[in-house]
C-alpha cells in the first residue's frame, strides 16, 4: 500500500495577482485594519469605504495611522540592506492602515453608528462624492466648509453645524495663523444667512467689519461685504461718522448704568480688601458709582460722608480704609476716561439685545481700544444678555415655547476670562454653566485650551479644532469632546491652515473639514439665488 495518491504529480502556477491588499483584516469593531501596497499614496484623514455585500452595508472609516510592515521574521531587515535593489518587494512589504470606523449605511440608506463590523476580507475602496449622500441627512444649517478626505476635499460634500446645537457652547481651538479669523468670518456669514440665533462678536482689532489684512499679508473682506445677508448683521462701532455712514453702521455707546462694580474685577488686580469693596457695591447702579467716586475726595476723617448725597452707599463704605476707596476712585476714573463710548446717558444695549433677539450677528467694533475695553464691553454685554434671558426664562428645549431666543456670545482669547479661577470672570462662568438653560451659549475661542477651566470645556457640545501643536492642549480637547478625538491626534497635529476637525452633536462622527476661504465663500453667497451652495458645484472626488 502507498500513502500517496496514484495520480501524476502536478505543478501549479501560483496566482501572481495580489489579493492580500485592500481587504479588511482587522478584528475589532473599534478599529479597522488592512494592507495596501508599500508604495501606495494614502494620507492620514483619508475616508475610505468598506463594502460588505453579504450584509448589504457600506461602512466608512477614516485613516488614523499608516506604518510599514513586512512578512519577514527579521524585523530589522530594512536596516541590513546592502544594496538598494529589492525584487518582488511588494509581495512581502506593505503598508498597514489603521482606520477609525465612522459608521455604516444600511440597506435602507440610513447612516448608523459603527456598532457592528464588516465581514472579514471585505473590500476597501476610495469613496466618491455620491457615497457621501448620507451626510446630507446629518449636516446642519450653518455651513463652514467642505468635507476633507486626506489631502483632498470632497467637493459638493459640505460641512454644516447645527444651529440648534450652537448655543450649547462651542469651542474654537487654534494656534496663531491657523485660520481662526477666517473661520469666524465664515461662521458669521453662515449665521447671517441662517438667522437661527443671535451671535455676538466683540472685535478690538477692527478686522471683521470691513476686512483688513490676513496673517499672510493678504487683504481680506469683512462681514459687511456679504450684501445678500446684510440684514442679518448689526454693527456697533466707535469709528467716525464717515465710516459709519459709508457702511450704515450704528454708534456704540454704553451708559454708566450699564456698568457694575464687579466689572472692575475683570480689568484690574484686586487685593482682598478691594475685592470686598467691589462685592459690597455689586448692586449699586453704575451712574451712582461713577458720580460718588469721581466727585468725592475720600479724606482720612471721613468728612465726605456728611456731604455726599449717596448716604446709603456711603454707610456701606464706612468701614473701608481711605486708601482702598481711593484705589476704587482711580480705577473708575481710568474706566470712564479710557472708554469714550461710555457716557452718562444713552446706551446701545437695548438695540443690541433687540438685534440679537432678531437672530442677527451683532458685531461690536472697537478698533484700537485695547484689552481692558474689550473685556469691559464683553462683560457688560454678557451680563445684560444673561439677565435678559434669565428674566424671560423661556428655557431651552421646551418645544411649547413658541419664540425662544438663543444667543451665542463669542469670547476671543477666552483663557483670559474662563481660566480656573477669579471672581472677575463670574459672568462668563455663569454663562458657561447655566447659560444653556436660558438660551445663552458661549463661543470660546482660544489657542490654549489647557488654560480654560475644564468644567467649562465639559459644557461644550461643539469643538472646532484647527491645529494645536501642544500635546497637553490636544489631550485636553480629546478628553472633553463628546466624540473620541484621540485616534485623530496625528491628523490634528498635521492640520494645515484653514483645516479643522469638527466634533459636534448632530454629526455622527468628527469631520475633517477644509474651512471655506471667506472671500470665496462670500463670492458664492453673494451670487447665490436659491438652493444650496452644493448645487452646480463640482462633485468629483
Amino acid at each position: 500500500m502507498t500513502s500517496l495518491v496514484t495520480s501524476m504529480m502536478n505543478l501549479r502556477d501560483t496566482d501572481l495577482g495580489d489579493p492580500s491588499k485592500y481587504r479588511l483584516i482587522g478584528n475589532s469593531v473599534l478599529s479597522y485594519r488592512f494592507a495596501i501596497p508599500y508604495d501606495e499614496t494614502l494620507y492620514v484623514g483619508n475616508i475610505l469605504k468598506i463594502e460588505d455585500p453579504v450584509k448589504g452595508m457600506t461602512f466608512f472609516a477614516r485613516v488614523t495611522d499608516l506604518r510599514h510592515e513586512s512578512n519577514f521574521e527579521d524585523v530589522k531587515w530594512d536596516l541590513r540592506a546592502h544594496s538598494g535593489q529589492f525584487y518582488g518587494l511588494s509581495e512581502d512589504v506593505y503598508l498597514i492602515v489603521e482606520a477609525l470606523p465612522l459608521g455604516f449605511v444600511d440597506r435602507n440608506g440610513t447612516f448608523r453608528r459603527p456598532r457592528t463590523l464588516p465581514a472579514k476580507f471585505s473590500r476597501v475602496a476610495a469613496p466618491s462624492a455620491p457615497d457621501f449622500r448620507f451626510l446630507e441627512q446629518v449636516m446642519g444649517d450653518v455651513e463652514v466648509g467642505s468635507l476633507k478626505s486626506g489631502q483632498d476635499i470632497l467637493r459638493g460634500v459640505t460641512v454644516a453645524l447645527h444651529s440648534r446645537v450652537m448655543p450649547q457652547h462651542m469651542g474654537v481651538f487654534a494656534t496663531t495663523g491657523m485660520g481662526k479669523s477666517n473661520f469666524m468670518k465664515v461662521f458669521c456669514a453662515s449665521c447671517m444667512k441662517a438667522r437661527r440665533f443671535g451671535l455676538l462678536l466683540v472685535d478690538p482689532h477692527g478686522e471683521y467689519v470691513a476686512g483688513g489684512v490676513s496673517a499672510t499679508g493678504e487683504p481680506t473682506e469683512g462681514l459687511i461685504h456679504y450684501q445678500a445677508g446684510r440684514d442679518g448683521l448689526a454693527v456697533y462701532t466707535i469709528r467716525d461718522e464717515a465710516f459709519r455712514r459709508k457702511y450704515s453702521l450704528s454708534s456704540l455707546f454704553l451708559e454708566y448704568d450699564d456698568l457694575r462694580a464687579p466689572d472692575l474685577l475683570l480689568l484690574f488686580d484686586h487685593s482682598p480688601a478691594q475685592r470686598e469693596l467691589v462685592e459690597m457695591l455689586e448692586d449699586v447702579r453704575g451712574s451712582e458709582l461713577v458720580d460718588l467716586f469721581l466727585h468725592t475726595e475720600f479724606d482720612e476723617n471721613r468728612e465726605w460722608m456728611a456731604t455726599t448725597r449717596y448716604r446709603q452707599t456711603a454707610e456701606k463704605l464706612a468701614n473701608f480704609a481711605q486708601g482702598t476707596l481711593q484705589v476704587m476712585k482711580r480705577r473708575l476714573g481710568i474706566l470712564v476716561r479710557s472708554n469714550p463710548f461710555l457716557r452718562a446717558k444713552g446706551s446701545s444695549i437695548p438695540d443690541i439685545l433687540a438685534d440679537l433677539a432678531r437672530n442677527r450677528v451683532v458685531l461690536v467694533d472697537i478698533p484700537g481700544m485695547g484689552e481692558r475695553s474689550e473685556l469691559f464691553v464683553l462683560s457688560v454685554l454678557a451680563r445684560k444678555i444673561l439677565d435678559r434671558h434669565r428674566g424671560e426664562a423661556s428655557g431651552w428645549g421646551k418645544e411649547e415655547v413658541p419664540d425662544r431666543r438663543e444667543v451665542l456670545i463669542t469670547i476671543e482669547e477666552a483663557q483670559r476670562v474662563l481660566g480656573s479661577g477669579g471672581p472677575g470672570t463670574a459672568v462668563f462662568r455663569e454663562c458657561a454653566m447655566e447659560g444653556r438653560k436660558f438660551g445663552v451659549g458661549l463661543c470660546v475661542v482660544t489657542q490654549q485650551p489647557k488654560n480654560v477651566d475644564p468644567r467649562v470645556l465639559a459644557q461644550m457640545n461643539t469643538f472646532v479644532v484647527m491645529g494645536l501643536s501642544d500635546r497637553n492642549d490636544r489631550a485636553i480637547i480629546a478628553g472633553h469632546a463628546k466624540q473620541d478625538l484621540s485616534p485623530m491626534d496625528t491628523e490634528i497635529q498635521t492640520l494645515e491652515p484653514g483645516e479643522a476637525i469638527i466634533s459636534t452633536l448632530g454629526i455622527p462622527f468628527p469631520v475633517s473639514t477644509r474651512i471655506h476661504l471667506y472671500e470665496e465663500y462670500l463670492d458664492a453667497l453673494n451670487r447665490e439665488k436659491r438652493g444650496s451652495l452644493g448645487e452646480g458645484l463640482d462633485t468629483r472626488f
Binding site: 501572481l16 541590513r80 540592506a81 546592502h82
Partner: protein, 346 residues
C-alpha cells in the same frame, strides 16, 4: 542544563578543542597553501559583469517532519520553481504540499510511489528507509528533480536553470533523472548550474573550500563578482566523486557581499559559458536582503518553504482525520507519542 557549565573541566577542555579545531580551518597561510595546492594565481579568477539576460529559473524544495514516532514518521514535502526575466518574476510554480509516511517503505512504498508519480517508472534502486531524515531528503530531491524537468520545459535557448545544491545525486535512483535533466538542457541550449549554500567539500586535509577561495581573492585584491574553477585533484574526499556530474567552482557574486558559494556546472562547460552563467547569477544577486545570493533561488526557497504554521495546520488535520476515523485523541497520542513537541513547551 540549559548551556555549558563553565565550571566543569571536561566542558572547558571540549570547548578549547573545538575552538582549536575551528581555528585550524583558517591557518594564517591559507591563501598561499590554497594557491599552491590548486596551482592558482590571480589570473585563475575570472571577473564577470553582472547581467540579466533571458530567463533565469531557480528550483528548490523543502521538507518538514510532521512527527517521528520511531516505528512510523511522516514528512511534509514540496518543491517550487521560479522564473525571472528583466528585473521581475515571470512565473512561479509549486507542487502541492505532500504528506508522506516514512519508516515502512516495504509496506507503504512511499518513495517508489512518489517516484512513479513524478517520472512514470519505478526507481531502479529502493531505499532502506531506516533514517527518516535521510529518507525525507531523498523524497524532497525526487520532487526537486521533477520540478527542474518541468521548469526546463518552460525555458528556451540561452536561458539558465539553477538548482539548489549540487549536480550530484544522493541516491542511485536519481542518477538517470539528473542525467535526463542535463541532457534535456544541453539539447535545448539551456544553461544549467547548481548553487550550494553549504558544502562539505574540503582540501588540504579538511580545509573548507569556499573560505580558502575568498581568502586568496582577498590576498590578490580581487573584488567580486568572480568565479574560480577548482581542480579536482586537490580535493580531499573520494566519495565526492560518486554520482557526480558537475565541475566544481567557487563564485562570489556581489562586490558588497562577503558571501561566496560553491557552484557546479556540467562537465564539458567551457570558460566562456561558465563566465556567462556566473554573470547572470551575479546579475540577480543584488537584492538588498541577501545581497550576493541569486535572488531567484531565494524566491524559490521561500515559495517551497514549509513554515511552522503549515506544519501546525497539518498536525491539526491529522488529529481531525484520526478523530473522524474513530481514533480518539488519547489513543492517537499513544500511537504517535513523540515527546519532542511536549519538550518544546518547556
Amino acid at each position: 542544563m540549559t548551556g555549558g557549565d563553565a565550571g566543569d573541566d571536561e566542558y572547558r577542555q571540549d570547548l578549547d578543542a573545538l575552538v582549536g579545531r575551528i581555528g585550524s580551518l583558517h591557518p594564517p597561510d591559507l591563501p598561499a597553501r590554497f594557491a599552491s595546492c590548486f596551482r592558482l594565481g590571480p589570473e585563475s579568477y575570472r571577473r564577470v559583469e553582472p547581467v540579466q539576460a533571458g530567463i533565469l529559473a531557480a528550483v528548490d524544495g523543502s521538507n518538514a517532519m510532521l512527527f517521528d514516532a520511531g516505528c512510523i514518521a511522516a514528512v511534509l514535502l514540496r518543491a517550487a520553481a521560479c522564473g525571472f526575466s528583466a528585473g521581475a518574476r515571470t512565473f512561479r510554480a509549486v507542487t502541492p504540499l505532500r504528506l508522506v509516511t516514512l519508516g515502512q517503505e516495504a509496506r507503504d512504498a512511499s518513495f517508489s510511489g512518489l517516484y512513479r508519480e513524478c517520472f512514470g517508472t519505478d526507481p531502479d534502486t529502493g531505499i532502506r528507509d531506516d533514517e527518516p531524515e535521510r529518507t525525507a531528503g531523498i523524497l524532497r530531491d525526487t520532487l526537486e528533480y521533477w520540478v527542474a524537468l518541468r521548469a526546463a520545459e518552460r525555458l528556451g535557448q540561452g536561458d539558465l536553470l539553477v538548482l539548489d545544491g549540487a549536480l550530484r545525486v544522493t541516491h542511485a535512483s536519481h542518477e538517470p533523472v539528473l542525467l535526463r535533466l542535463i541532457r534535456t538542457c544541453a539539447k535545448r541550449g539551456i544553461h544549467l548550474c547548481a548553487v550550494t549554500k553549504r558544502t562539505s567539500v574540503t582540501w588540504g586535509g579538511g580545509l573548507p573550500l569556499v573560505p580558502a577561495a575568498l581568502a586568496l581573492a582577498k590576498a590578490h585584491g580581487i573584488t567580486p563578482p568572480w568565479v574560480l574553477r577548482i581542480g579536482e585533484e586537490g580535493l580531499d574526499v573520494t566519495p565526492y566523486r560518486q554520482w557526480r556530474h558537475g565541475v566544481p567552482c567557487v563564485a562570489a557574486l556581489h562586490p558588497r557581499s562577503h558571501l561566496a558559494f560553491r557552484i557546479e556546472v556540467p562537465g564539458p562547460t567551457g570558460d566562456d559559458e561558465l563566465g556567462e552563467m556566473v554573470s547572470r547569477l551575479a546579475g540577480w544577486s543584488d537584492d538588498g536582503r541577501v545581497t550576493g545570493y541569486p535572488y531567484p533561488l531565494l524566491d524559490a526557497h521561500r515559495t517551497a518553504r514549509i513554515p511552522a504554521d503549515a506544519v501546525g495546520q497539518a498536525k491539526n488535520d491529522l488529529i481531525s482525520g484520526m478523530a473522524r476515523s474513530g481514533l480518539d485523541a488519547r489513543s492517537a497520542r499513544d500511537l504517535l507519542g513523540d515527546l519532542h513537541d511536549e519538550f518544546a513547551r518547556y
